[in-house]
Amino acid sequence: MGWSVKRTRTFLTSATRLRALLGFAAIALLLAPGAYAQTASEEYVKPVPLLQGSAGFITNFEGGQPDLHPIVTPVVLLPIGQRWLFETRATFENDLVAVPGRPGFHGGPVEKEVEYAQLDFLANPYVTVTIGRFLTPFGIFNERLYPAWIRNLQSDPLVLPIGIGPSNASTGGMVRGGFKANRQLNINYAAYFSALSTTSPVDSDRFAGLRTGIFVPKARLELGGSFQHLLQQERSNLFGFHAIWQPAPLPLDIRGEYARSKRGSGYWVEPAYKLSQFPFLQNEMRRTQLVARYQQFFTGDLPSDSLPSVNTKQFEFGVNYYFMDGLRATTNYGRQFSSAGNLNVWTLGLTYRFVVPLGPAGRVP
């Protein structure tokens, strides 16, 4: 009986939260038409459906064991009218490993996954409403830096699984947007609710969360924070902070994140420097980027399948070489230190980003 009452109360609480989010979305929609009229008329170029994405062939050597990892990640973008966008991303990947006593590399069947499939409605210049399955906006790595052609180092940060759900995505609704607060400052935000889904591989947890950030264009600095409340299991709170800085005088990017949950906490810091200011071999130098990442993970009160089981430190150093726009060779070396044993991590790879218009696209200006 007590269990039933508690369960009913939990359901009502989450239903109330969902109603609040839907109410917020409805208000945004009601306010939409007038505010958007100006923008819609100025969008003079008709968008075309696109197939874009990336392909990569990554070779990892972890603890001396090679592992070949071909991956293709197509993204389909389907603009509908002036204010709608349907977008979806899938991943096809395989892990090929050497089996003792057998020649060559062997792996299981190709893993296929729809990472997200979402419908976006650009309600007005300040609000976009998203429904469907979307990448959980907790921190910056999962949503903005995850694709193989974007990330500077091919390995995932140790804290990546914190706050993003069991399959990196949420199932539900989200309101988000970015706007200019004043001449010096842009503000961006995302508020979301995810329902429980136990259907693999599109599983998700039930939670609600908010991420917000400020961007100072003059300083080229973005600072932000994420908060999430889990509406199941231990019903705990998770939070995190992120920062991106690109100092204007240098071709340098510095990114970092901190995340904390009951299942663990940690941070990563990643500077990346392009050698374009070097006065010799300029054609080669402007294509070369040096990257480093230092990260630490601390175990929490509760166990987790996707996080390290012991406190872990990891340092990585890498070099990326851009043959041309979209095609890049990437290599890095790292060493992981933990009480479970120290190990070397090597990665070699090639990543390629493609864009294919699915209709007449016009000419390159």
Binding site: P79, N186, G326, V355, P365
Partner: protein, 122 residues
């Protein structure tokens, strides 16, 4: 055996993609040089034919256009470069879709989106 073919197939796809990319790069650089040549010849012709009043109006609209382009380029470098290498120019309709996607994903402001679209499509 099947996996070996799968691997050969994926390597083949990669090789094709790289070849396509190299071909696109060559095409882009060819187009760039021919566009420069065309612009130079058309500037020479138009200089001879315009009257002074219309030239002044043209100059002012041209300077506004230049200012918008510079601002667009600045926004492009600042916003796109935060997460990835800024791409080369794409056809206008491709850019319009990519920017709508980026408006959602990277939470670009409406103004940033319009200025970047203008810069990337003109």
């Amino acid at each position: 055996m099947k996996r070996k073919w799968l691997m050969i197939g994926s390597l083949g796809v990669m090789a094709c993609l790289i070849r396509t990319a190299i071909a696109q790069e060559h095409e882009r650089s060819d187009k760039g040089s021919s566009a420069v040549a065309t612009a130079a010849s058309s500037t020479a012709t138009s200089n001879a034919s315009h009257a002074s009043a219309s030239a002044q109006a043209l100059r002012s609209s041209a300077s506004e256009e230049r200012a918008a382009r510079l601002e667009g380029e600045k926004r492009f470098r600042t916003n796109c470069g935060r997460c990835h290498q800024p791409p080369h120019k794409f056809p206008p309709r491709v850019m319009a879709t990519a920017l709508r996607h980026m408006r959602v994903r990277a939470m670009l402001t409406d103004e940033d989106m319009r200025l970047i679209l203008r810069y990337m499509t003109q």
